[in-house]
């Protein structure tokens, strides 16, 4: 089964602290994974995708096939990082079309 799990519904950290948003996936084959972000009252937008291996706004995410994880990390959180974060898997067929989202993690960065 193709599935994306984000175990934390809410993550609260202080400004300047490291942050890690967890994402685990279930997929047979080579997955394509994404992180989307939704700032308050804005549309969802792509933050990064694993195949590009880039860092966006200080965030990075490494695909770990052994642990089937794609955790999102940032060494020093900023208040403007407060948002809803979604991990997504590009699947094939199945009951959710070709894009499968996790339930999302709300990140709150406190001053």
């Amino acid at each position: 089964a193709q599935r994306v799990t984000q175990p934390e519904k809410l993550l609260s950290v202080f400004k300047g602290a490291p942050v890690e948003l967890k994402c685990n996936y279930s997929y047979s084959g080579s997955p394509e994974l994404f992180w989307y972000v939704q700032y308050s009252r804005q549309r969802l937008q792509l933050l990064l995708r694993h195949i590009s291996r880039e860092s966006i706004k200080g965030f990075t995410a490494d695909l770990n096939k052994g642990e089937t994880s794609f955790h999102l990390k940032k060494p020093f959180a900023q208040e403007e990082d407060s948002a809803m974060y979604y991990c997504a898997l590009l699947g094939y067929g199945g009951s959710q079309g070709n894009l499968i989202f996790g339930k999302g993690t709300k990140l709150s960065v406190k001053p």
């Binding site: 969802l44 792509l46 995708r49 809803m84 079309g97 070709n98 339930k103």
Partner: protein
């Protein structure tokens, strides 16, 4: 560069009324999706389409209908509005091997 356009942005419905949420994309994407996002919650897939003339149910299809007569358009129909359908609705589109692009959302209140 329009991307995914949803109309209306806001709507208040009375219980039992019907309405259609419009979604159009100009990127020639095969896949289109409708999600709802309840306050403080993640995305839930309502319906999706893998191409013109093909639609399928997602996680929460009850109370909704869709059609996909063209590649560009994917309207969502609410026949008998209920308070439980108060939510923010997002339309999205994607193609094979691309990320999803989202509309700006429709905030619907049923009173």
């Amino acid at each position: 560069n329009a991307g995914v356009t949803q109309t209306p942005k806001f709507r208040i419905l009375k219980i039992g009324q019907s309405m259609t949420l419009q979604c159009t994309q100009d990127m020639n994407h095969n896949y289109m999706y409708w999600y709802r996002q309840d306050p403080g919650m993640g995305l839930k897939l309502i319906y999706y389409s893998v191409g013109a003339g093909i639609t399928d149910k997602g996680e929460v299809p009850n109370g909704y209908n869709v059609s996909r007569s063209t590649t560009e358009d994917f309207p969502l129909r609410l026949e008998l509005a209920a308070p439980s359908q108060t939510s923010v609705y997002f339309c999205a589109s994607s193609s094979v091997n691309t990320e999803a692009f989202f509309g700006q959302g429709t905030r619907l209140t049923v009173v």
